[in-house]
């Protein structure tokens, strides 16, 4: 197979390609038009692009083929879609770009978006967000559900998109740079608690998969594996990918929050932080 074929989608989804292209174009158009003070620096732009590209790569390159037919690569795919990619995108703080486009939306569009913002607010309740984040992982890894998702193309796409969207929601809630002092975002303590809480059930699930004696996901036997890897090894590696890296993402998030709390404590920093947040990251 020529190398460039590895960059082509295995299962081409026009909607997915359009969504990624759209995000990229909207971001690229907004950047030079943002006022100097709000424009993200090179690190933030890099974080956004790497996050976006990673998610695209696991959905629309040859990677997706291996993810469909090898359990541990499928786990790697969800690690990117639910954790790493959205984490980087949230870390890049795309708020100025979002605000830029919101201000250009016709007022009718804003009215149409009203029910969406209601749903958004419900989903971003701490309890709902945490349950949804862990619940989705458990739901799609429920053996019977997992079987159907891998067999049914539509369900497969629903699974991957739901992971990506939920990842964006959750990590944005966790990493939102707006200061909680103004009462519109979660307190740093709540965020730390949530990240620790969602790590626990993931640790349990990963361990259950790693130490399972029997084959939990027979869909990979039923549908065939991408290469003759031992089913036991496949499941073990997949379990490890469910177990360790997601917990590490929680810890990185917690460390970032601790850093913010420590910075908040410094009086000379406080003013600067407030000044920064009021021109850098604030919505309405």
């Amino acid at each position: 197979m020529p190398w460039f074929e590895f960059l082509l989608p295995y299962d081409f989804s026009p909607l997915t390609v359009a969504a990624y292209l759209g995000a990229l174009i909207l971001y690229g158009l907004a950047l030079p038009r943002l006022p100097e003070a709000e424009r993200p620096g090179p690190w933030r732009i890099t974080a956004f692009l790497v996050g976006l590209l990673a998610c695209y790569a696991v959905m629309q390159t040859r990677f997706d083929y291996y993810a469909q037919y090898t359990f541990f690569i499928h786990r790697g795919q969800h690690l990117i879609l639910h954790h790493v990619g959205p984490f980087l995108i949230a870390l890049s703080n795309p708020l100025p770009v979002l605000r830029f486009w919101r201000d250009r939306l016709p007022s009718r569009g804003l009215r149409l978006a009203a029910p969406l913002s209601g749903i958004y607010r419900i989903l971003q309740q701490p309890a709902v967000a945490a349950v949804l984040f862990v619940g989705l992982i458990y739901f799609w890894l429920w053996p019977a559900v997992h079987f159907d998702a891998m067999l049914n193309r539509q369900l497969y796409w629903t699974m991957n998109w739901s992971m990506l969207l939920d990842g964006l929601l959750f990590w944005w809630l966790m990493l939102d740079p707006r200061t909680p002092a103004r009462g519109r975002t979660l307190g740093h303590g709540t965020r730390i608690l949530m990240m620790a809480l969602v790590a626990l059930p993931q640790l349990v699930l990963g361990a259950v998969i790693v130490f399972a004696h029997e084959s939990l996901y027979d869909i990979y036997d039923v549908c065939g594996r991408a290469w003759p890897i031992a089913p036991r090894t496949d499941q073990l590696l997949g379990g490890l990918l469910t177990w360790i890296p997601p917990a590490m993402m929680s810890i990185i998030g917690i460390l970032l929050m601790l850093k913010r709390i420590m910075n908040d404590g410094r009086p000379q920093q406080k003013q600067a932080d407030l000044a920064h947040s009021s021109n850098g990251g604030m919505a309405s």
Binding site: P115, D218, C223, G224
Partner: protein, 203 residues
């Protein structure tokens, strides 16, 4: 946003979720195997028979088609599947058995010559037809049914393992996908499903 609108949105969301979930357990005829009607596209392929002829689903139109993948050097899964299917076919009433064609698709065209494939398949059951084709054609067919196959590294004697699907796909007389059978299902139950499907096609 007022509290009542919150409640309405939440209720609508939950209702939608409930409808989505109940959709999975609707009132459908009970099959022993997994009903996958509509989940995959209709039967379509162009492969080579052991006599070297081109075979398409049209050749067995009107028959219940059973499709499964394997290769003749297969150490475990394929012989078990073939023996299993032989037993299942034996358990069917003779008249229904006449309306079933089992297609064993070799995904190892490099080693599986028509002669080799022919003698291998006929050893298990005279109702089972061996088919193969170019790797490209086989990949297309596999992808169509959301399965795949892959080759391991060859040892010193040139032997290599092949990973492939262990599923048994069942299509009705019109070539529509109907059931997915697994070998851990009792033979009698698989025979019942196939018999029912064969008779359904007639009526």
């Amino acid at each position: 946003m007022s509290a009542s609108r919150h409640t309405t949105t939440l209720a609508a969301f939950l209702l939608g979720l409930a409808m989505l979930l109940s959709g999975c357990s609707g009132e459908k005829p009970h099959w022993n195997g997994k009903d996958i009607s509509g989940v995959m596209p209709d039967l379509e392929f162009e492969l080579r028979s052991v006599q070297g002829d081109t075979v398409t689903p049209g050749d067995s139109a009107g028959q219940v088609r059973i499709l499964f993948f394997g290769y003749t050097s297969c150490p475990d899964v394929c012989p078990t599947t073939l023996a299993y299917l032989h037993q299942v076919l034996e358990k069917m009433p003779a008249e229904a058995r006449q309306d079933v064609t089992a297609l064993f698709i070799s995904v190892d065209p490099k080693r599986d010559t028509p002669e080799r494939l022919g003698s291998y398949v006929s050893y298990f059951d005279s109702h089972i037809v061996g088919l193969t084709g170019s790797e490209d054609r086989l990949r297309k067919l596999a992808k169509r049914y959301r399965t795949t196959f892959g080759y391991g590294d060859a040892d010193n004697d040139g032997n290599y393992a092949v990973s492939h699907s262990s599923a048994i796909y069942v299509f009705d007389g019109k070539g529509r996908i109907r059931l997915l059978l697994k070998q851990d299902m009792p033979q009698q139950q698989a025979a019942e499903d196939l018999t029912r499907l064969a008779r359904q096609d007639l009526s």
